[in-house]
Symmetry: D2
Subunit: 350 residues, 4 copies
């Protein structure tokens, strides 16, 4: 339930509402809008007659039922957009942010070249996997903690914040020492104990949509994280599984625009996994920005043909730079700006 | 198979190749590129040793096998983009074209208001259904020939070419008297006798992708039309069926970018059916342009709440006009221009 | 709406109800159950107060709204199972019926050998395609009318009724001269003009489920046929399109059991298309019978490796005979019997 | 790679092959067939010329490449079926085994009634969730360790082995103290660290197929477990996610028959989740047995309408007992027998 306060409601009146909620073992979360405050009510069951009782309190204009099964993640509950801050980067506001980097950390040299390349092209955050979930137990599964160390070190050198995946609750503390953003991979979107563990941290979380998760299930996964006290969640569309085999996944840009409407959380898009083919990454990156994505996460590699994972969907550093230039134009066309590194303007791009 | 001629090959040498093909009961289709001619070979079976025999002819540089099951529709076979001409409108070149109009023709008044609205906003062609395939036998199924007459009349008044659906081979002659473009609906994408019947006409065809058709099957459906002699085929992505229920369909923009790569045919996108929700039509229209669509087909209605079909996904005329303004900017950002009617600049848009 | 008559309602009272319906431009369809009659009301709109007015008539017990969008096809509307009669074969009752034969009619010899083989193994009807919808325009598309002639001739010789596909409304009259059952293929499940054309005949129809049709859409397709006056419709599950690629389709046996519950029409299953692999045809045939299918349609060929279509999913005649023997046992285990030809018991089976 | 020994190969010759593998940092897994031994080779990379070198060894007949990406789980690698033993129950042999019980453990009373009910009806193992993965963080999530204690206690009383879900690696030791079989739920099928943790135990594992996992991915998940040294893996089909909404999932019985062909592991089926509707559970249970499932896992509850989870798909104890009687007949029809408790014959069933 949502309690909408009157435009002139006083701080005291809001306190009174919260106190009344506490008496009923409920709690309230305040969103201060431009005109009025809105209080989201958490906890259940909500007893009959509760709405009328609340509406009788001074300063309360009306109460509304939340129509979605998720609450903290819903825009009804929290009408203003959430801005997630990662170092000096703000995600979810007017600017479009690009996260670039390799699929896996393979070596210091590979990571360093890629990081400099994407930063100089305008990326603001560095992605790279140290722990890789792989379909086959016989495939390369990442460098582990050594990979985390390299990420932290190269992040330091380049000034880029780090985004890296954490796969299991027991690793959250360790990975948290190195990363600026926890990535929850598609396969783990419903690994609820992991969601809760990152929810107990104060580190921002990039939550990828599961391979066959509905948008509602995706937002309920965000709810798991938020319900533990961490509001810094970014949603990330990365393609869903359908009957089509020409592309690795079906990139669901409807979901980007829809999630922006029903949720206040930032929504990013991952065209690398969304398409699985580097030739399609640039056009679909532009499409994601055009339909309202707050950012992109794009795989790049100095030599994709030799990548240990996801080579087929990784851009070369040159193509990454070209993408960034085009992205600036599309962002402007839809009233956004691209956040780009200082290095970008100085960097020669064909 | 494709026969690539040498850069300096003479017309006589090309003729000789064609003559040799004819001797083998095969035929050749010539694409004259900037540097050299390419001859696509049609017919089968192709006997062993055929490639070597062709390569031995004067002026032939090499032969290539076509890797796709479709030939006429493939870019290997026909490397330059096909431009489809409908009245004075060219589709498939640098300009992005918008087709607007109601789902169904409901009355002269409704069609006229919509047609003027979309034309003044910049649309170049008018869509409208006279024969509607409906899931239930008890739903409104269109006005039939009276609807066709209204379309032709309003097309005349507004100067807009007409796009309307034909549902069965027996109707092709009749519908062809009124329309400028045959629309083949998603449910009929594999109605092969219908495809062949429109393939025997010289009227351009807008071929919607089937609800669960792979991109390959879609191109093979185009091949059915082209194999009868009608090269004027436009592909149209309109959403595929997946597990997601928050949107009517999953709009597969990967397919737009992918089809542009593997085929020379123009590729359009239908964000109305692709999303099923008018609130998502504008962002997904912009996304479609950003990833390379040659045009859009968008449902609009003067009063969507009272539409006899597809009200939930139809834009008001005001929202249609706003979409067109934003589309101009996105088209420019990706190096395209929007074809817009003269009326557009004169028309006030909020 | 459904009007439930009282147990002792007289024929006169039923007549009165029908007369009252006729006054309102509605019609009624009577199902005489063991205890009482039920009248399904067709036509719309149904005016407010109509239910109460009907309940006031003598002999009426109550009225019920039909909860499904399909009516004629629903079990609410017609509680007793429909039995479809094809020559001397009854489908939809206690006996399980098997339709066997080649994918395509290829020659008199191939058809004759297959027909004798499946008949001797116990099949009661002969399938075979004369007109084949093929994904590629370059694939074998059937023998056409010559194929129909062969089917009729071999049907005569073997005493087997014929099931063959009709692809377009214009062919209904011709195909109807040769066949005992019209097959509507998966690609044509929503070819509404074709459904209506076979609906105007009195020949039984085998309606395959579309590749991505929901069960509701499938029943609405049956409704299209029935609404034209042909009640002899058999539903046929043949696999749906999903992400799984190990099998050609995903055979949805849930749909068989579900359709049996919500509809009174016979439900058959096609394990050949449902699996796409002959090795899986026998186990899935048994599964279909176990969950309530009224019959099977199974592809068989004297030499599957040389079949012009669907060889990978065709059983040899020997394997077809083995399947029949196992099917008898499973049918008994679920309280059904197999209809088998007289020839079966005489035929040696390993 | 697989090394096929000659029929008369000696133990010494086999030892020599293993020794040679060890020199190359590879290991071998022996399957002793009726006629000859087969040695599966584990480890990589396999150097060029390796096959020829092996074929030159005494007693070796030939070497074969494994065509599947999974090895330990493949039937090529291990041609004889694996029998998993849980207490006195053998799964994967001639007998069909049924696991019954509630979705969640809710109370001692509820569990006890259900356990006695399913045992008396013929079930051999007891299922029940103490830790429940739920889509919403606000739903009932199980009784935790108290639930495990109840399971162990009721298992003791009834003589039924216990099957219960473990959700995260850190819980494996605790859950392992109480359960006879670890269940890995569909959402965790690609939780690789969890798979490896149960792989390091010697407790049998029931591995449910993921909601949108291909059969290949499912077998690779089994490979993760087996690669850690635990060969006691049972596969369990529980429905996949498709476009169909009439049923909760699409129960993929093709996958049961296919997995039996390509793998030697036992394959079970879960018609409760596979359908999501109790009315469909019985017919689809019979179908699963008919197509070769080695067992069923079925949800039952004394009062499904009041179940805290999955009430809609739970059988009453009476319907569970009726299902068991029908299952006996279908199992016999396909040459299997049902393992049933001694209690069954004594128990009155309608």
């Amino acid at each position: 339930m949502i309690i909408v306060m009157q435009p002139g409601a006083t701080a005291m009146q809001i306190e009174d509402v919260l106190a009344r909620l506490a008496e009923l073992d409920l709690s309230g979360q305040i969103t201060q809008g431009e005109e009025r405050a809105i209080i989201g009510v958490l906890g259940s069951p909500i007893v009959p007659g509760f709405g009328a009782a609340m509406e009788a309190l001074p300063g309360v204009e009306k109460t509304l039922r939340v129509s979605k099964p998720y609450k903290l993640a819903s825009r009804e509950f929290h009408p203003t957009p959430t801005i997630v801050h990662v170092r000096d980067v703000a995600i979810g506001g007017d600017e479009v942010v690009v996260i670039g980097g390799p699929c896996s950390v393979e070596s210091a040299e590979q990571l360093r070249r890629t990081a400099h390349g994407v930063r100089d092209a305008g990326a603001r955050l560095l992605r790279g996997g140290a722990y890789k979930p792989r379909t086959s137990p016989y495939a390369f599964r990442g460098m582990g903690e050594r990979g985390l160390e390299l990420l932290a070190q190269v992040g330091q050198e380049t000034g880029l914040g780090i985004v890296t995946e954490v796969m299991t609750p027991a690793d959250v503390a360790l990975v948290g020492q190195y990363t600026d953003v926890f990535q929850i991979g598609a396969r783990n979107m419903q690994n609820y104990l992991l969601l809760e563990e990152v929810g107990r941290s104060q580190t921002p979380v990039l939550l990828k949509r599961g391979l066959s998760a509905t948008i509602e299930e995706w937002l309920l996964a965000a709810e798991y994280i938020m319900a533990q006290g961490n509001p810094q969640v970014m949603l990330c569309e990365r393609g869903i599984r359908t009957f089509e085999t020409a592309t690795r996944n079906t990139f669901d840009l409807n979901a980007v625009a829809y999630a922006k409407r029903v949720s206040h959380l930032p929504v990013l898009a991952d065209p690398s996994h969304g398409t699985g083919k580097w030739q399609l990454v640039t056009p679909l990156s532009l499409a994601a920005i055009a339909c309202g994505a707050d950012g992109l996460i794009v795989e790049a590699h100095p030599d994709p043909d030799r990548a240990l994972s996801d080579g087929a969907q990784s851009l070369t550093l040159e193509n990454f730079a070209r993408l960034m230039v085009q992205a600036v134009g599309v962002a402007q066309a839809v009233g956004r700006t691209m956040q780009t590194s200082a290095a970008m303007s100085a960097s020669p791009v064909v």
